[in-house]
Amino acid sequence: MTGKIFKDARTALDGLLFDGMTIMAGGFGLCGIPENLILAIRDSGVKNLTVISNNAGVDGFGLGMLLNTRQIKKMISSYVGENKEFERQYLSGELELEFNPQGTLAERCRAGGAGIPGFYTKTGVGTVIAEGKEHKVFGGETYILETGLVADLSIIKAWKADPEGNLIYRKTARNFNPMMATAGKATVAEVEEIVPLGRLDANFVHTPGIFVQRLVQGKFEKRIEQRTVRQRESA
């Protein structure tokens, strides 16, 4: 079988990037983001990107790097509060922004990957989110129609992979990665470790390898946004 493992993030993206494309990027805040693939996309110079990601990184890290280089034309996100450059570009009209409620965004990615072009939700009924959307009553309650999302490319971050592309995630670094893995026409995953075939327990694979076309092992900074700690009581 043709191997899925690539030697670095740059070669893993080879032939997959084009101007004006749509990219899904996993992660929540800076947790579980594909750091190395984002860097490689920055270095590729590809532009006019539509990026679907819950957040937009911070100034100079994560997707924030693609904002600095003006490679992003439009973001589809639920919360972008941590990024000054984002704010500047948005307020100046350089950047388009589509807000989705977080659960709607997650479900739209899941739906896109599962061949579901539309689903009804009560999230956002009666708010600006519902404007222009089809409303429908089920069992006496009103719901709005949301559509499935797919991307030309999904870049995701997992903890471990095997050579088949089976993935496992770690703790809350899972977040949007599993659904986005299913919704990319091509999906490239970066992981902390590629283990030999058979080392992952088939019963506990989070993302089956069928969803992952390319795989790269990376080094991670894993920057923390809000380091909150408590003090040990003195003995």
């Binding site: 929540f28 579980g32 919360y79 659960g103 997650a106 703790k171 977040n175 923390i224």
Partner: protein, 213 residues
Amino acid sequence: MPWDRNQLAQRAAKELRDGFYVNLGIGIPTLVANYIPKGVSITLQSENGMLGMGPFPYEDEVDADLINAGKQTITELLGASYFSSADSFGMIRGGHIDLSILGAMEVSEKGDLANWMVPGKMVKGMGGAMDLVAGVKRVVVVMDHASKAGEPKLLKQCALPLTGKAVVDLVITNLGVFEVKRGEGMTLIELAEGVTLDDVKAQTEASYKVALT
């Protein structure tokens, strides 16, 4: 005396029931975890994908892969579980979370809630707030009764863009507690110690009944 932040959290904690699955918003709602009544055991959900959230970590426990919805480092308790954001919001949207406690900018007498954007200011996004208020079984708002400028926040109608329509079940302000019932409107059911009915009336635009318990 109006309630302070900790008293607000303490009053909100009385809404917790044994066995509840609870989602706490950022700010005062987070403090509620410090006042869980004796004999009551609850499980905290973090909407990025976790049940069984514990307190902040000790310095040597900090884990970049373990954060809450506010992006703060946290810990896990025994019996915790992790899941995707799709599964997490399936849980929320599907009505499996018993209680959500969150802050607000405005609440209307019909239970409309506004807490995500102020026109003209940079909009950060609604995050999971719209999903939570639409999906969770019981929505409790904790907020100051009036804005810093002294404007009422309990209104006939919200002026700010809504987070959810007719979604709030209970409002706890520093002056007292209001119940909201669908189709029946708002009822003042409790006053902070030393606060009078007139104090409340003076700072409230919404109509409400009074039925102190």
